[in-house]
Amino acid sequence: MAKTYDYLFKLLLIGDSGVGKTSILFRFSEDAFNISFISTIGIDFKIRTIDLDGKKVKLQIWDTAGQERFRTITTAYYRGSMGIMLVYDVTNEKSFENIKNWIRNIEENASADVEKMILGNKCDLDSKRQVSKERGEQLAIEYQIKFVETSAKDSLNVEYAFYTLARDIKAKMEKKQEASNPPGGRSGAHQLKANEPQRKPTSWLSRCSVL
């Protein structure tokens, strides 16, 4: 069967234990009488299909929960990954400080041009907050990585974060493609027309502020 999508991106969720990586991927809530079979086993990865500027993009999103106790994620997880969400918990100072260690781990193991984004999760728990939004922004500037605060519990900015990361990967790939197929070169190359109107992102996404 013919390929039914334009791009396939492998994404990873990385960060200390307990920062809510699994909640970002997994939303099920238990009821009092039954236990869900799925939540007992846990999710390894999800496939999601999104539309990015008219292109059909498949995201394969991996949770690394359970691995992080080794302080590093094994190279196997990094293999082929094109985007990484670095997650910390705004109510846990240590998890924020460890973002630097995770970045070092990525630099040592992942492909050099992997796209990254920092997520300050649990921003709904304002009374317990230990890390200000400004400090998150500052760290992001330091590493020149995009940043957004999220609440997996309230589904705040989670979808936005995935769209943003995916869009950055796509832009990088198209730039590479362009470099290897310069305009006016061989015919048949996939070239973006300069006058092609850019699609506006979904309305609620545009309201979020990021760096």
Binding site: M1, T4, Y5, L8, F26, R27, F28, F33, N34, I35, S36, F37, I38, S39, T40, I41, G42, I43, D44, F45, K46, I47, R48, T49, K58, Q60
Partner: protein, 128 residues
């Protein structure tokens, strides 16, 4: 699975209004939240008898017991990237179970680690 493969194909078309040319005629969605799992015509209809754990396990069941039922109709999906939205659980006895990517309801089917093929239980999804 050879016996299973034999039953694939357009032979069932006459009896099942949701099957056309041996494939799903309609979009496959989650029963609970409507999340789109498969596009039209992207799964091959097949009949096979396979035990699948119940979506909800009784809290009073015996320890270690898994309550399951026999599923008889599936959509066979050869490439996992054919799915629009789907979750894969950790591996249990050479299977990964499939779940809704949006509300995590499941298992809605299973993924075979040997063949790398997926099987969606028709009784656990809705067509639209």
């Amino acid at each position: 699975m050879s016996e299973v493969e034999n039953k694939e194909g357009p032979a069932e078309e006459e009896q099942k209004d949701y099957v056309q040319d041996g494939r799903n005629k309609y979009v496959v969605k989650c029963k609970f939240c409507g999340s789109k799992m498969l596009d039209k015509k992207s799964g091959k209809y097949m009949e096979a008898e396979k035990e699948l754990p119940l979506m909800r396990q009784d809290n009073n069941r015996k320890e270690g017991e898994i309550q399951s039922e026999t599923i008889k109709e599936f959509y066979h999906v050869e490439n996992m990237y054919t799915f629009e939205n789907i979750g894969f659980t950790h591996t249990v006895a050479n299977h990964k179970y499939l779940s809704c990517a949006d509300c995590d309801a499941g298992p809605v089917g299973y993924y075979d680690m040997d063949t790398k093929h997926s099987y969606v239980a028709i009784s656990r999804i809705v067509h639209s």
